[in-house]
């Protein structure tokens, strides 16, 4: 199907189903119940889940396949966002030109950055990309204020030219749309006490994510992907065989930059504003966390990682002291207090602490991320049935 093997097609189908039914899956608690605040099925969060999924998929094409660890990927996201918002200011509020231009601009920018950074590898590459990203951030924040809006950032204004849209109706704020379909349009479905929200913007972003995911599967399975994996396992050997690996790594870098630009464009399409902090190095760090946590080098890993981080961020940061007290209320009073003091630093504002610890644990014990964890658990159950030494049909490349 679609030129995919059965397993990959299955994977794509699973992700498609998850995306399609996300409004149900993320809203497990009935409206009005005490747990309702932990529902994650609201449009804003669901959009972010899939958009950061795209960002992580793109990062994984570079890091997972070639092993080049970029610490400056947020720069491409930011450049894509700025390009998209300018399209919305100058051309039309329709998201199609905005997204296309954001991908192209981010691609061009990553071509320049990649062409320079890829002259070095290892830690030097990481620092070069970091330097470029910090430079873009500093410039966007200060000198380029006429283009980027500096500290205030940019949002579409009433007075913008928007040559394709014509003059806006008086008293109406310009809203992002897809040929007239408002990105914020939602319908609600009530089943019993449950309320499910279906948002136009989310489904458009999810559709784009599926296309991005499909493309990444094709890249992983192509001879080009094979070449990138060869670069990761031993670049010296590649060079000795007389092959110039630079065009391949550069192509991977540009593709991954374009993915980041796409994510940036979509972010603007869903929420029409941009600020320079989107390019700060912590944002670059976050996508690294997503890819590693999910499992770098695997197809589904980055999507899982992005979803997991954004979802947990939403849940964990909502827990406060009184909720903790409710949870531990079944214990004797002194124990309740003890548990609350023990757990409190890790929830609410302490979400980053939990994330940092989790990330360290994953890097130390599970370098393959959540995907490897899943496989290990799967193997535990499978071992009883089949002999693990029998060939499993996969061939491991010789190092």
């Amino acid at each position: 199907m679609l030129g995919l093997k059965k397993r990959d097609a299955g994977l794509l189908a699973i992700v498609a189903c998850l995306c399609l039914f996300a409004p149900f899956l993320l809203n497990p608690f009935p409206e009005g119940s005490a747990m309702a605040q932990f529902n994650a099925g609201y449009p804003d969060l669901m959009q972010r889940l899939v958009i950061f999924g795209i960002f992580a998929i793109g990062f994984n094409i570079l890091f997972g396949l070639t092993g080049y660890l970029s610490f400056g990927h947020a720069a491409f996201l930011g450049v894509g966002s700025y390009a998209a918002i300018w399209m919305m200011k100058l051309l039309t509020m329709n998201i199609v030109p905005a997204i296309i231009v954001s991908v192209l601009v981010a691609g061009l920018f990553s071509l320049v950055v990649g062409w320079i950074s890829l002259r070095r590898s290892g830690i030097y590459f990481s620092i070069l990309t970091l330097a470029f990203a910090q430079m873009s951030y500093a410039l966007a924040y200060s000198v380029l204020t006429p283009i980027t809006g500096g500290e205030t950032g940019l949002q579409p204004k009433y007075t913008d030219p928007r040559i394709l849209d014509g003059a806006p109706l008086p008293g109406q704020t310009p809203r992002a749309n897809l040929f007239g379909l408002d990105m914020k349009a939602s319908t609600q479905l009530n089943i019993g006490d449950w309320v499910f929200t279906f948002n136009a913007g989310y489904y458009i972003a999810a559709a784009v994510m599926l296309i991005a995911f499909y493309l990444s599967i094709r890249i992983f399975r192509s001879p080009f992907g094979m070449m990138l994996r060869a670069v990761k396992s031993n670049q010296h050997r590649m060079n000795y065989t007389g092959l110039n690996s630079k065009p391949y790594t550069l192509a991977a870098f540009v593709i991954s930059g374009m993915y980041a630009g796409l994510a940036g464009g979509l972010l603007v399409a869903m929420d029409t504003q941009v600020g320079a902090e989107r390019m700060f190095w912590t944002a670059s760090g976050e996508v690294v966390l997503m890819a590693i946590l999910g499992g770098a080098g695997t197809l589904i890993g980055p999507v899982l990682g992005a979803g997991f981080i954004k979802y947990m961020e939403n849940i964990v940061s909502k827990i406060n002291e009184s909720i903790l007290e409710q949870w531990f209320a079944f214990l004797p009073d002194s124990l309740t207090d003890l548990m609350v003091t023990l757990v409190y630093p890790f929830v609410g504002k302490g979400w980053h602490l939990t994330l940092g610890l989790l990330f360290m644990l994953v890097v130390i014990f599970l370098p393959g991320g959540l995907v490897e964890g899943g496989q290990r658990i799967g193997n535990l159950f499978r071992r009883k049935k089949t002999d693990p030494k029998s060939p499993d049909g996969k061939t491991t490349p010789a190092e």
Partner: protein, 343 residues
């Protein structure tokens, strides 16, 4: 001329901080071969050592002062720091005033202990893993350390003043025979520069003139051979890690009066220090120090008014720009050794 001198002086204090952090980074990289992204966090913890020590000194108990009345007419309760009871009021006041320099004594054991725990508990297990894994795990550690500090000290910067004896500024212009007030420079920054120079001198002397330092240098050059000679090089490298942590910590302690410590300061310095290490040359100690001062001074030159008129925003990007140019033209950095991190 005076503007020129002033910019060099302005660059020195930032340059000193860069040089000290970069020195520690290079020590760790040269000995253990580990890229430590948590080094900025050590700098930050050092600054918070100063904050903690100041708080410890001013720990106080309430004493009823019969001679004064509060607004209700009752005898007023006054906070009296414990050190007044122990050393008398005059010495106590002097100690509180000198809290930042005194916290050096507090910071050294704390930082060395943190360094040991970090190396033995975590970094040890990452020698054989790829550099990307080392970067990632220390990056995670940096987040964790920053968040712990944020939990206990809050997110706001905590002002930590220098001793009042160093509160003013030094008039360089008058000393050099120029008009008064052309070049003035805060005393504390001067102290910071002197302190940094002292630490750098001590580290170099330690490596150059002691047997321990000789063994460490031998280990940096060829770890395997030193091991074959029957020397437990791992133990010495652990100690070097502790020293590197202490250097970063001391840089942080003394930096607290210049820039009020907040939990994020480590990250800001780390990014720049890595750039400094790369410009200086991975694994080269003199290179790290040289590049630290050089980039600090370059940064302050780039923020001069006429430069900013010509190229706006140059001060924001000059360091990164220099790093990119250096890496592309002199891949080994200014003073990098052959064979270090060349893949």
């Amino acid at each position: 001329m005076d503007a020129f001198l002033l910019q060099i002086l302005n660059g020195l204090d930032k340059g000193s901080a860069y040089a000290l952090i970069a020195l520690g980074l290079t020590l760790i990289f040269g000995t253990l071969g580990v890229v430590n992204f948590a080094h900025g966090a050590l700098f930050m913890i050092g600054a918070f050592c100063a904050v903690t020590f100041t708080k410890l000194l001013t720990l106080s108990h309430k004493v009823v002062d019969e001679s004064r009345k509060d607004f209700l007419g009752n005898p007023m309760q006054v906070d009296v720091p414990y050190i007044y009871d122990w050393f008398g009021q005059e010495t106590g006041d002097a100690m509180i005033d000198w809290a930042v320099p005194l916290s050096i004594l507090f910071a050294i054991p704390v930082m060395i202990a943190i360094g040991f725990i970090m190396e033995r508990g975590l970094i040890k297990h990452f020698y054989k893993r790829p550099h990307a894994d080392q970067i990632l795990v220390t990056f995670g550690l940096a987040i964790v350390l920053a968040e712990i500090i944020k939990y206990y000290y809050g997110a706001n910067p905590i002002p930590t003043p220098a001793p009042s004896a160093f509160a003013g500024s030094f008039d360089f212009g008058a000393m050099l025979g120029m008009d008064a007030n052309t070049i003035i420079y805060p005393y504390w920054r001067l102290i910071y520069f002197g302190f940094a120079a002292l630490i750098i001198g001590v580290v170099f002397a330690f490596l150059q003139f002691t047997t321990f330092g000789m063994v460490v240098r031998a280990g940096m050059a060829d770890r395997e051979t030193v091991g074959l000679l029957g020397i437990d090089i791992d133990k010495r490298f652990t100690i070097m890690f502790g020293i590197a942590a202490a250097v970063a910590g001391l840089a942080g302690v003394m930096y607290a009066p210049i820039n009020s410590p907040n939990y994020n300061m480590g990250m800001d310095f780390l990014v720049l220090s890595f750039v400094v290490v790369v410009v200086g040359g991975m694994g080269s100690l003199p290179g790290a120090v040289l590049a630290g001062f050089l980039l600090g001074i370059l940064e302050s030159f780039a923020s001069m008014a006429f430069v900013l008129d010509a190229i706006p925003g140059l001060n924001q990007i000059i360091i990164y720009l220099v790093a990119i140019i250096i890496l592309l033209t002199r891949p080994r950095g200014l003073m990098g050794r052959k064979g270090v991190m060349e893949d």
